[in-house]
């Protein structure tokens, strides 16, 4: 989607009205769509206002993160919101530190955020507080590492270990059953 610079400025101006009395919320024009930076403490009320306010951002289209190692704060969680009634896109960003990768969950606002947050947790290890079911989505259960973090090697860390554990357990059980019968 291409937005002309004039359009973008007009969009930002009308969004800025909504947020003029919010603290810790800053709005930038962004390259392709307006962009809102929010402290994570304010995330849930701001998102709620975005969904229910003038623009009606009814659709949470994506959630991902960016690893800015070695900068602090290390992780940036990025939300892509869309308002079908205004045909308006908005990017929302919030930050969290290493070792306390916790961000409030927005599943209470958009239930579709459930799997998006699970994927983000799976890939970056960011824990979404208040998520109803924060399990891994793509990597196997029981895997300890987070593949999209900068320190993660391309070839993985012991990629076959969980399979081999399962395989050994299965063979042991088979052998025990055989010796019992």
């Amino acid at each position: 989607m291409r937005t002309s610079p004039e359009d973008l400025r007009a969009q930002v101006a009308s969004l800025a009205e909504t947020f003029s009395d919010w603290e810790g919320v800053s709005l930038q024009a962004g390259i392709d769509m307006p962009q809102l930076t929010v402290a994570k403490e304010n995330l849930v009320p701001v998102m709620q206002a975005l969904r229910d306010g003038k623009f009606r951002f009814a659709h949470c289209s994506m959630i991902t993160a960016v690893d800015h190692m070695p900068e602090e704060p290390r992780f940036e969680v990025v939300y892509g919101l869309y308002s079908p009634s205004c045909n308006q896109w908005l990017r929302v960003k919030t930050h969290c530190q290493e070792f306390e990768e916790e961000v409030p969950s927005v599943t209470g606002i958009w239930s579709g955020a459930n799997w998006l947050e699970r994927e983000c947790f799976d890939m970056f290890g960011i824990r979404f507080q208040g998520h109803p079911d924060l399990r891994r989505l793509l990597m196997p259960e029981g895997y300890e590492h987070f593949p999209l973090r900068k320190e993660f090697p391309r070839d993985g860390i012991e990629p076959g270990r969980l399979y081999r554990q399962w395989d050994e357990g299965r063979r042991r059980e088979g052998a025990e059953e055989e010796s019992a019968s």
Binding site: L138, M139, P140, P147, F152, P153, R154, D155, G156, I157, P159, G160, L162, Y163, W166, D167
Partner: protein
């Protein structure tokens, strides 16, 4: 029919309405012409596998058109696609559930060696979890290449001498 003819032939067989052969040859002949593949279609290669079974390439000419989606009825596993470590347990379970004797074709570079996916999630060659009989290179291999693999499996079955009699 090669292996049937290999057996010693008495005279006037056809006229008398019977033929003689070795049991091993008869069993091999039956097995190789009625392979039931287990289509383990994991990604894009599965499309080529479907083309292979369809009317244009027609795997039925080789007696192997009866794809079964339960491993308990199959004897030829075609691993068509990218096997991830998460999927590896399922693939191994499917293999274990197939009755003996059984054969495995690794179709495509992904299942043969991991292919272009040299990363943390993909098994670098299914031979690290399964015994493989034939590898088919290509990304994806053409259906004719896979048919060639099936024919090589048939040749392999023909040479089987594992039947035991008596004790």
């Amino acid at each position: 029919m090669g292996s049937l003819i290999e057996a010693p032939q008495p005279q006037n067989v056809g006229e008398q309405g019977f033929l003689t052969t070795k049991l091993q040859h008869l069993v091999n002949w039956g097995r190789k012409n009625s392979l039931w593949p287990m289509p383990l279609g994991l990604s894009c290669c599965a499309i080529e596998m479907m083309a292979m079974v369809g009317p244009r390439y027609d795997l039925a000419r080789f007696g192997a058109e009866a794809m079964r989606f339960t491993p308990r009825q199959c004897d030829l596993m075609i691993v068509a696609g990218t096997l991830t470590w998460k999927m590896a347990r399922a693939a191994r379970t499917v293999y274990d559930q197939m009755p003996e004797p059984k054969w495995v074709i690794a179709m495509g570079v992904c299942s043969s060696s991991g292919g272009m996916y040299k990363n943390y999630s993909v098994v670098q060659g299914i031979d690290s979890i399964l015994p493989v009989d034939i590898y088919v290179p290509g990304c994806p291999p053409r259906p004719d290449a896979v048919i060639d693999a099936v024919m090589k499996i048939q040749k392999k079955i023909e040479q089987d001498r594992s039947l035991k009699f008596g004790s």
